[in-house]
Amino acid sequence: MSRWRTASGGRIDRTRALAFRFDGVRYEGLAGDTLASALLANGVHLVGRSFKYHRPRGIVTAGAEEPSALVAVRRDGARETPNLRATQVELYEGLDALSQNRWPSLARDVGRINDWLSPLFPAGFYYKTFMWPKSAWKSVYEPVIRRAAGLGVAPTEPDPDRYAQCYAHCDVLVVGAGPAGLAAALAAADQGARVMICDEQSEFGGSLLADRHATIDGASAAAWVARAVADLAAHPRVVCLTRTTAFGYFPHNLIGLAERLTDHLDAPAPQAARERLWQVRARSVVLATGAVERPLVFPGNDRPGVMLAGAARTYLNRYGVRVGDRVVLVTATDAGYQAAIDLRDAGVAVVGIADLRPTVSGELPAAARAAGIEVTESATVLGTSGNRRVAGITIARTTSAGTGGDRRTLACDAVLMSGGFTPSVHLFSQSRGKLRWSDDHQAFLPDRSAERERSAGACRGATDLAAAIADGLEAGAESAPTRTAAARRITARSPRSADRGYLGAVPLASDASQKSFVDWQHDVTIKDLAIATREGFRSIEHVKRFTTMGMATDQGKTSNLNALAIVARAIDAPIPSVGLTTFRMPYTPTTFGAFAGPSRGDLFDPVRRTPIHAWAAAAGAVFEDVGMWKRARYFPERGEDMHAAVARECRAVRSACGLFDASTLGKIEVVGPGAAEFLERLYVNSWANLGVGRCRYGILCREDGFIYDDGVIARLAADRFHVTTTTGGAPRVLAMMEDYRQTEWPDLEVWLTSTTEQWAVIAVQGPDAREVLRGCVEGIDLDAAALPHMSVAAARICGIEGLVMRVSFSGELGYELNVPADHGLGVWKAVHAAGAAHGITCYGTETMHVLRAEKGYIIVGQDTDGTVTPDDAGLSWAVGRKKPDFVGRRSLQRQSMQAPDRKQLVGLRPRDGRTLLDEGAQVAERPDQRPPMRLVGHVTSSYQSAVLGVPIALAMVAGGRARLGQTLYIPMPGGDVEVEVVSPVFYDPKGERINA
């Protein structure tokens, strides 16, 4: 047994030794240890290097608030979790932990030079030092800073573990299972409430787990906890969750809980979920989150071995570990004395107690004095010594002259500090409850609740055990939906302690040469805060951002109040007026795995496939993602790359016939007596004059006048329209239609139905399209006179009732066959077979894009970007001039919408006839400009045109239509490319082919 382990006591299992590694060195701990307690039991205090100065750092606390002892725990290459608090990592056989932020080793770390160079790295140095040259940011400053100032490293392999998620409802959710929380859960359960109680630790009990002196209902604290836990566990309406952190408080009493299921096991079952995310909707919430002890801010307070008094007491009483052989207590509370007394009882030499308070009385100090421990009143700390572990502390008595008298240096190997208790109001504050400053408690306490919630116990200032339990009982009973049972009573007794504490830097700290740390994790000292106030920052939110105080992963749990007091003193303002920084979720870092749950890989996002998908895949199609859809991009034949395949497909459509799966088109049926009027008001076009059996290209603008969607609309009957939308646009178009239907024009009798997935759409395009379809379509005349361009007719298509629409997005004679989705594949195969004699060629979205670009047809979202009007896109012909109004009309009349220098759609042809422009490239009037360049537009679409044999592009160019024939320049990686501005219609400008 290690010499720092006590002979008996504590909650560890002395019969079960566990081997573990820290930085490759093998140690032994006991079942029930945390990594922190096991390291301390081995005399290891140096566990990490600090964030900025790379100073040696130790273990400061025994809980979730730990700002210093951050480690990585590694199971294998994919399971290495960085930035874990050693105080929360439960030991298991074979645990492999690593220190962080050190190179080459923890003991010899070259980054330590930052500490000696620290005058160069004051608060705000990022903002001031690393400004110029700008190019150095990417190549020099950022990589170096990131390497030197950092936390742990995330694994690069995918996370192999499973994470579960569940929802729960309860009458009362109790957060925290210390004395107040246990009392609240018992009281609520007594009243018949459905109760959930959670605690982040491995077992319930909170502060009671380390309390040797308290008696509750006549039993020891430990015995009472065991009874309470058994009562709750046996209760049919109570759910108990250990290792479960309530990390976030969301509106309407939704609480996020992260339950760690396997991280404490040496060999988790392969299929077991590692964590479970609970979303609990609670009728009422009781926050019993306790309080955390505050460090004291004195010179040299960050040496390994300097820790909170309560933590030392927890290590002793809960884990059977002495944190040193010779300790000094620096305190401003009576509670600190309890730690000193317990350690002394365990055989540790308490070399002295330095109490910042001028006069000290009370039960606990009296007991310490009676035990012969020397107590110095009005004390302060002038500094500490020791390299990788504290070896001495210099204390003095503050005199009325403001100097330190009776200076003495005490040799020691641990310093305990107790600056008072900060209520954990994080969740209360997240719930938007209002805090108020209490002078009595020297703390912010919960005041007005925003939710159906109440705080109980130490988190609202009731630190005395009996008071905390009484508060918990009351909170639990009053949170229950009904109160029928008699109120439970619990009697408790523990030594009285006065714990108003001390805020800010100790006297004379700012005169010392050693640094006094406020925020351990971000290396923020009193000097940094002084600089911030000298720079003129007054609000704590600004000070926080300038110094990064409280912005580390611990969110300043141990540091915020001290920082606030230091700033308040520096600017001579009361603490509440300086403000309190905002508490944000998560309370402690929560894994992405818990949030993602099963939504990863194939389950990340639904995949939509058309009825023809499997056929296309078997035909060797290469697919692309369009929204959630998988669309065939091209159909390569043997040895073809995309360029060759697309060129072949393009030629086939222009010269013979192509077959294209357009099933992803969004489709909405607009039906009812008011259908025509509805579209009239919504779309820019006229619809009243559209005959039954005819189609029209429609444009939908938002109220701001910018193009939102487009598509062909067919009038199937006087009161029935078949509206098509872009592939990705159907849901938002339907939502917009519903909005206007319900909220603006409830008088119109019109019904909207999404029919996207009811229809498979097969486009047959090309000069031979009619001949191909003659053998497929029955019941209608396909001749141009009977079924001209932009018309629609019901027909039997390969034996299936459907719609034949004569429409074209290629510029060729074209049809779109709409058949019920279940028959899509059959009809596709039949048409493909029927077209064999004509050399019918399957084509994909890439060819579709080239063909439409050759015709200057826009794609909403590619050629438009939400700032393009119909006129900008060259589509003013579509706007119904005589309509009194439509959505967007008034906006289109605004002066800025008529400006001649608005960006307009044009075509671009490279002068060299060879260079394919980059989509997204800028357009310039003059070549060879240096930044800042004057730019007049951007390229929206660019393709190699097979039929023209040259590259073509569409672009939005300021005043573009007045520039036809002009030369412009496209800056590209290889230099400026000279282009000619041309009409966006590159092919068949008269449109003769489409009307064939």
């Binding site: 969301f250 509106p251 309407h252 939704l254 979303q279 909707r281 938007r432 925003a450 939710e451 109220e703 701001d704 939502a735 519903e738 909005d739 319900q742 909220t743 409830p746 109004d885 009309r889 008034r890 906006s891 605004r894 002066q895 800025s896």
Partner: protein
């Protein structure tokens, strides 16, 4: 995540709904000035406290309705039909 009382379906979680922004925006007459129209299009109050806003039960009945919500506490104090205009 809020709980929103759909007037047609009852109380449901917020992720079934879609927010449509401030309610009862008065659209200026078509002959309003460009400035007035621009303010209607682009400028919104951002009140701290009670806010009348439009919500749609998008993954439920699909109906729009109005909600009075406190933007600070998220308390929903009233729900009423989309076509109803409360007296100011």
């Amino acid at each position: 995540m809020m709980k929103i009382p759909c007037p047609h379906c009852g109380v449901r979680d917020e992720n079934e709904f879609q927010c449509g922004g401030t309610a009862h925006l008065a659209r200026p007459a078509l002959d309003a000035s460009d400035r007035e129209w621009g303010e209607y299009l682009y400028f919104r109050d951002n009140p701290k406290g009670s806010h009348r806003e439009r919500w749609r039960h998008a993954y439920g009945c699909g109906r729009w309705f109005n909600v009075v919500r406190d933007t600070l506490t998220h308390e929903i104090s009233a729900v009423y039909p989309i076509t109803e205009t409360p007296a100011r």
